[in-house]
């Protein structure tokens, strides 16, 4: 177990180095720099622009910049934002909780719903309900996540007027609410964005779980469990479900990047001040330092998710522990 984690951590480090390197060079070989468009238009002199470039070290050769950047990142210093002159880590830490709350709640709901539906479908294979859900999950799987968000806004915020469609809290009245009222206000704002991400994800999870469950149900140990006269409930939940969850755990690691991609879009639709919306803003304003840092942060989140999935897998399946 310790060796497994050690090996995975080493691999994660290599991947992180690759990610940092590729985003760094990708950004630096692109034509133009962040001080070209804005400042020349606003009438700042060329000397002043050069001065600012020097302050940020942009005049040095690219390999020196790269070395300095790697050293800084390794010591936890992500640099200054070109736009707001604030430390990048501060900006990211400010936004990160919003994204983590959104994506982790969505992930939990995604897998809870997906596993439930997929298991039920495999159990009642071929029934009208199974056929209906097969079409429904495939449709969800094929729906653009941001469009689905708009449809939920149309239904619940515009037509029914029961849930807010943007922001984290109701601006203006939030401060005058009781603590319990504040919590309820936050929950109300979470419902639509979380459901958007979770339902779209649950479409894929349910399809995956259905296939995994059908595969398990066709195996001999299920036949022998049935032959021993165990109740259908025991067979499904104690024998089949547990084994069918193994492939679904691997899906957990794989679905994180998809979820983060989705959160970029969903945060834009719901004006949710998280990392995703920050990505769009900083990319638009060419805030290199923030962009590279977000790349690193999302890679860390994805790799951490993969590590958790690997550990869960070896906990769930004793065979995985024995492998070198």
């Amino acid at each position: 177990m310790g060796r497994l984690i050690g090996r995975k951590l080493f691999q994660a480090l290599v991947v992180m180095l690759l990610v940092t390197t590729s985003t760094f060079f990708l950004i630096h070989i692109a034509p133009g720099d962040p001080f070209m468009p804005d400042l020349s238009v606003s009438g700042v002199s060329a000397e002043r622009t050069d001065q600012i470039r020097r302050n940020f070290g942009l005049d040095r050769p690219i390999y020196v910049q790269y070395g300095a950047y790697l050293k800084n990142v390794a010591s936890g210093n992500l640099g200054l934002s070109f736009r707001s002159y604030r430390p990048v880590s501060e900006i990211i830490i400010e936004r990160l909780p919003n994204t983590i709350v959104l994506t982790s709640l969505a992930l939990i709901m995604d897998f809870a719903i997906g596993i439930l539906i997929g298991t039920w479908q495999a159990w009642k294979r071929g029934s009208a309900g199974d056929r209906f859900l097969t079409v429904a999950t495939l449709t969800l799987h094929s729906t653009p996540v941001f469009w689905f968000g708009f449809m939920l806004i149309l239904a619940f915020s515009v037509s029914l007027r029961i849930l807010p469609g943007s922001g984290v809290v109701t601006i203006g009245i939030y401060d005058s609410l009781t603590p319990l009222g504040q919590l309820w206000d936050r929950i109300k704002h979470l419902i639509l964005p979380v459901s958007t991400l979770a339902l779209i994800g649950a479409g894929s999870t349910a399809r995956f779980q259905r296939a995994a469950m059908l595969d398990t149900l066709s195996q001999d140990f299920i036949k022998s469990a049935r032959a021993r006269g165990l109740s259908e409930c025991t067979v499904i939940f104690r024998h089949a479900l547990r084994n069918s969850l193994l492939p679904t755990i691997t899906l957990l690691g794989l679905s994180l990047p998809v979820l983060l991609s989705g959160s970029v879009l969903v945060e834009t639709v719901f004006s949710w001040p998280g990392i995703g919306a920050l990505t769009v803003d900083s990319v638009q304003s060419r805030d290199y330092m923030v962009v590279t840092a977000i790349g690193l942060v999302s890679a860390v989140m994805v790799l951490a998710g993969n590590l958790v999935a690997d550990i869960l897998y070896s906990v769930a399946d004793p065979r995985a522990r024995r492998k070198p």
């Binding site: 691999q11 834009t268 769009v280």
Partner: protein
């Protein structure tokens, strides 16, 4: 069910008869790639007509047996035909502002089946031309991604050693960053507005998972008896790769490509929605949704229609992809 096959052909013939005068427009407009796609679709139509008047080979009738596969092919066929014949079928130029005084945000009606948008452009025309853009990006970007992914996967799987190590760590890095992030960074930094650059970029960021799949297949096939036998017979390494291994990885790649087109359509829509994809005034399904999102309360149909078009296309592709999977790779897909 023979009569069923006549439906698309009859519809198409009717369509051509009604709009005959404008076929000429079709071939004289559009870029080279668009005209190539038009020619491809004509070939496809000829094939469909041929299949309608001759008895189907057993493989095909088996393939199209399930009801959902038939519906999916019909839907996809209809969308493709409408996309290719957009200049004839649309009735308006997609960027023409028809009536800025009285024609803004009109709800769907007979004159404008999907209504009009906030500068009085006909939404039906925009969605049809958007289909052109979205499908073209889907097909070309996936072709590119599949080509790169297959080459990388074959190299990694066949050569092994450090080649495999380097390539697969690269793939890990590519997969561990959300794709939208890569695309946002590249598109915005190069400040591109050109659709072919967009295709290039989506293709270049789409090959990671294909190469993983191909590598796994190659690893499996490399150890099979017929490859060992070929090596024993003294066939060159290049010969083994091209004649023995490549044909055997084609079926999973075809499935991967079919599903991939759907994914690219979703990615392109997302990118265009964020304002980094296809640039206005040209319509793609994503840009139409972005246009409509500002008027979502006054004109909900602008956002709704393109989304339905995307979902229909991607669902149909997914159904066909699943069907191809069960037909081409019966061993890998559980038969339930």
């Amino acid at each position: 069910m023979r009569s069923f096959r006549w439906v698309p052909v009859t519809l198409f013939v009717l369509f051509v008869v009604v709009r005959a005068g404008r076929i000429g427009d079709l071939l004289s407009t559009g870029t080279f790639v668009e005209q190539t796609l038009v020619a491809l679709t004509f070939t496809l139509l000829a094939a469909i007509i041929w299949l309608t008047i001759t008895p189907w080979p057993e493989v095909l009738s088996k393939f199209f047996k399930p009801f959902d596969v038939r519906i999916a092919s019909l839907v996809l066929g209809a969308i493709m035909i409408l996309a290719v014949f957009a200049p004839i079928a649309s009735g308006h130029h997609p960027n023409t502002q028809l009536d800025l005084v009285n024609g803004q945000l009109l709800p769907p009606s007979l004159a404008h089946p999907f209504g009009t948008d906030f500068v009085s452009r006909d939404l039906w025309s925009r969605v049809l031309f958007g289909a052109r853009v979205s499908l073209m990006i889907g097909v070309l970007a996936v072709t590119m991604a599949i080509t790169i992914g297959t080459m990388v996967g074959m190299a990694a799987g066949y050569f092994g050693g450090w080649v495999e190590l380097v390539l697969m760590r690269l793939v890990d890095a590519g997969l561990s960053i959300p794709r939208v992030f890569w695309l946002l960074v590249i598109v915005s930094l190069w400040g591109t507005t050109d659709i072919y650059v967009l295709i290039l970029i989506i293709g270049l960021t789409g090959w990671f998972s294909t190469s993983r799949l191909v590598r796994a297949e190659v690893l499996r096939i490399r150890e099979e008896d017929f490859v060992v036998a070929a090596r024993g017979l003294g066939i060159s390494e290049a010969g083994i790769v091209i004649r023995q291994i490549l044909p055997n990885v084609v079926p999973p790649i075809i499935v991967n490509a079919t599903l991939g087109i759907g994914q690219v359509i979703l990615v392109e829509a997302g990118l265009s929605f964020l304002g980094f994809g296809v640039q206005p005034p040209w319509p793609s399904w994503g840009t139409i949704i972005q246009d409509g999102s500002a008027r979502i309360i006054a004109a909900p149909w602008i956002v709704t229609v393109p989304g339905v078009a995307i979902a229909l296309t991607v669902v149909s592709l997914a159904i066909l992809g699943d069907r191809l999977q069960t037909t081409l790779n019966p061993r890998d897909s559980a038969q339930f």
